[in-house]
């Protein structure tokens, strides 16, 4: 159902909350989240699919929200970085691991890393270093040189294998 000026209604569940919005066909998912829904934790670093800073989960899969059109996600469940910590502010174990291992400096890339790793570990709890590196290879960080990010993720993965339930959002 498209209106005369080309806009379309979409209905999405983001971090458990249902939203209805009207978007232009060219509106990207990152724009919908950031500008229309006020969820600015998802950042944009390149808008051309390389940096991975904008990564969010759509129905459990990690995607680049800068390359996804808002109209494509009608009816989907989306998880963004704002959905990781508990309602009372307790950090998600993955966030705790990044803090403990200094896996962030400026933190601009961090939401993308968190969401990419969350998708990997919830899908493949036994992911080893090679699989983790493969996923991290799709995300750019200009500050850390990645060493501390790898340590963060290895720590989180070990923790996840022990206590899956705390993890899943």
């Amino acid at each position: 159902m498209s209106s005369t000026n080309g806009t379309r209604p979409v209905r999405v569940t983001v971090n458990g909350t249902v939203h209805e919005a009207t978007v232009e066909p060219r509106t990207t998912l990152s724009e919908l989240l950031r500008s229309q829904l006020g969820l600015t934790g998802t950042h944009v670093g390149c808008e051309h699919g390389v940096c991975g800073v904008c990564t969010v989960l759509i129905d459990g899969k990690a995607v680049r929200s800068c390359l996804t059109l808002a109209v494509q996600v009608d009816g989907s469940e989306i998880l963004t970085v704002e959905g990781l910590a508990a309602a009372d502010g307790t950090l998600h174990p993955l966030q705790e691991a990044f803090s403990a291992e200094h896996g962030l400096q400026c933190g601009f890339c961090t939401p993308g890393f968190l969401m990419a790793v969350y998708a990997l570990l919830t899908e493949k709890p036994d992911a080893g270093e090679d699989e983790i590196r493969e996923v991290l290879g799709g995300q750019l960080c200009r500050c850390t040189g990645y060493q501390s990010i790898l340590r963060s993720v290895m720590r989180a993965a070990a923790q996840f294998r022990e206590s899956k339930l705390e993890w899943v959002r």
Binding site: R34, V50, V53, V81, F98, T110, C143, Q147
Partner: protein, 796 residues
Amino acid sequence: MSLDCLPVTERRWIGRDVVRVEDRSLLTGRTRFIDDVVLPGMLHCAILRSPFPHARIIQIDTSRAEALPGVAAVVTGADALAWCQPARSTPEGWGLRCLASDTAHFVGEPIAAVAAASRAAAEDALEAIDVEYEPLEPVTDPFRAMSGDSPLVMEGKGTNVMFHRVFTWGEVDAAFAGAEHVFTEKFRWNRVGANPTETFGTVCEWDPGTLELCVYGSIQAASSAALGCAGTFGIPSSKVTVKSQHHGGSFGGKGGARGIVVASMLSRKAGGRPVKWIEDRSEYLVAGGGQAWDRHYEASIAVSGGRVTALSVTLVDDLGASGEGFGALGAAKPLAAFTGPYEIPTARYDLSLVATNKTPVFPYRGMGPPPHFFVLEQMMDIAARALEIDPAEFRRANFIPADRFPYTIPSGNEYDSGNYGEVLDAALSLAGYAELRREQEEARKQGRLMGVGVVSTVEPGVFDWNAYAIVGMPQTGVPEGATVSIDILGSITVRVGFSMEGQGQYTLVSQLVADYFHVDMDAVSVVQLDTRSAPPSFGPGGSRLGVAISAAVLGACQRLTGTLRRVAAALLRAPEDQIELWDGNFVLKDRSGGALSVAKVAATMLARSDLLPPGVDPLPEATYVWTAPGRTPADDEGRAKSYLTAAQAVHVVVVEIDPDTGVVEILKYAVADDCGVRLNPATVEGQLDGSIAQGIGAALYEEYVYDEEGQPLVATLADYLIPTINEIPVTQKTAVVTPSPFTPLGAKGCGEGAIHTTPAAVMCAINDAMAPRGVLLTEVPASPQRVWKTIREANR
């Protein structure tokens, strides 16, 4: 000096790995970056850019764009001519206005800009602006640019040579004439740059009522930006407020001055509505602050008896189409460490800064020494190879001895302290150097190209403006201030003038204050003030802020303690000089009598005027502004005591080259680093890791490529290859600690040392690998194609 100056029995925070105070809001997506800022009535800006490297602008017609729905304002070069001055620049007089009016000087130069209800509407409106250009011959080769028959980048200047001077330190000609050996080589360093994951962005508001300008932005140096705005618009600096948002990295190359001026003009034209401009990645790559160091070198060293006696460096530095990015500072900074860690008595620097029709260059982490050390360290290896001396031992023989510090180098700067031999030993043993050479011998027997690079550099830390005096920065001193304040409930707030950009400086402030007053880190809050409220502040840059802000905070704590002690003395009925602060309490030095907590004393000051001693204000607060002591103005050969500290590092890198593809693989990476006392060791390690990764990018992958006509061939992150985790080796690291005698806590600047060293080390390893083939690669980055071609030469 040392951490022992803190008034506590045991330090709980400073000098230890602590969890950063910055992390929680970053990890939950709550930190407000510039693109998250939304003001009422805000418009969005898009910029029309020149598609030509050099062109006459015959005419611009904006009428169609102005008529589009949602478009609130359009500005062109005519507005820039009416409202602003050209950008300040180094060298002086080589700045351009924010929008081109008659000539376009590089691809991506802003020509016009639109403010509209949405970014999409603004971008659509750009397509309705009609510009007629007459392409001119571009100037792209700096050597041609210097010749008499070249077209001119800026016609009014009459030349493309922005600056040329020869600096001579000591009897350098005699040293070359009398040397047993002289080695000479040419080198090329191609453009690389910062590329933080967040590009530049700003929201500007020109208040038509007060005629004041308010700028929010992802700005590295807020106070400089404020002064720049005042100068550009010709308004009093007291009418400009800059508030830097927390931002996603900078590395010197955030850029943004043009964006601020353009957005401010649009706000003015749109009746004062705030205007947001967010640079997109392609704009950043083509015409942002991310390009640095486009350099052509020729270098010579003289060697007698295994000692280097002279160093001569000729640099032709292509600064692009203007001096607005202050890229020239990067050609001046090598003076602070011209001869590296070596005792080289004489030196010469023949420096030309040249304009071409390429994007203006900007600073980048390291600010110039990374290419300089790439050159110096290749020369050290060239000499060692020719003289058949082990490169590590050749370096050791030339090191400044540990008993010679403080040591003044020929180009004038003074190194505070160091023990270079110890750092070398630490690196060699960490890497297993002797064993590596045996492995290499085996590999060579099998015809494999395995190489080892051993490189040592000095990182000048805590910059001062006098370091850049030769290219027109006459000031001396870079003050950094902090205010420490205690409220009636004993909570402590520290007010500073810079935003967070990744180095964890708010954590450092909290660590230091928490230990000083013996409270938990949670009890300390760090608050950023804007440029009209903050004490003098420069912010991060030049491996400076850790030392500067810790010195400022320490000074403020001590000053505040002095005030509190007067009150405590009155309350304890003891002479002031008998009282000291210890573990968070004011006590008698002989420990007789009672104790009063800092919180209690502060609360008494604010709540009990009846108990306040005469002459003491009810203000438990102190401000201290620190600047590096002992800095000297530059003399007529540019010599100055500029950078306060000199950290030193040795990197050992092992590579193997695939001769069929030219691909370089890093097999091992070991680092020994001496940056003095480490205030937060995990943060220092993070600085090393990040800086090594950028160095590897510069050595192997990253390059801003232009074609011969001056068209940039890099417009996306698929063209500009920032290393991913899979290009960065796991490094081994070890620390040597030689405290700085000149900084309050003994720390040295540490943010740039690795990028000074890594490109040189990787290139030395590559050339060591190819040495049996008798070839040398003198150009970075060592892309597979360049390496492969170099190996082919050997086979011919």
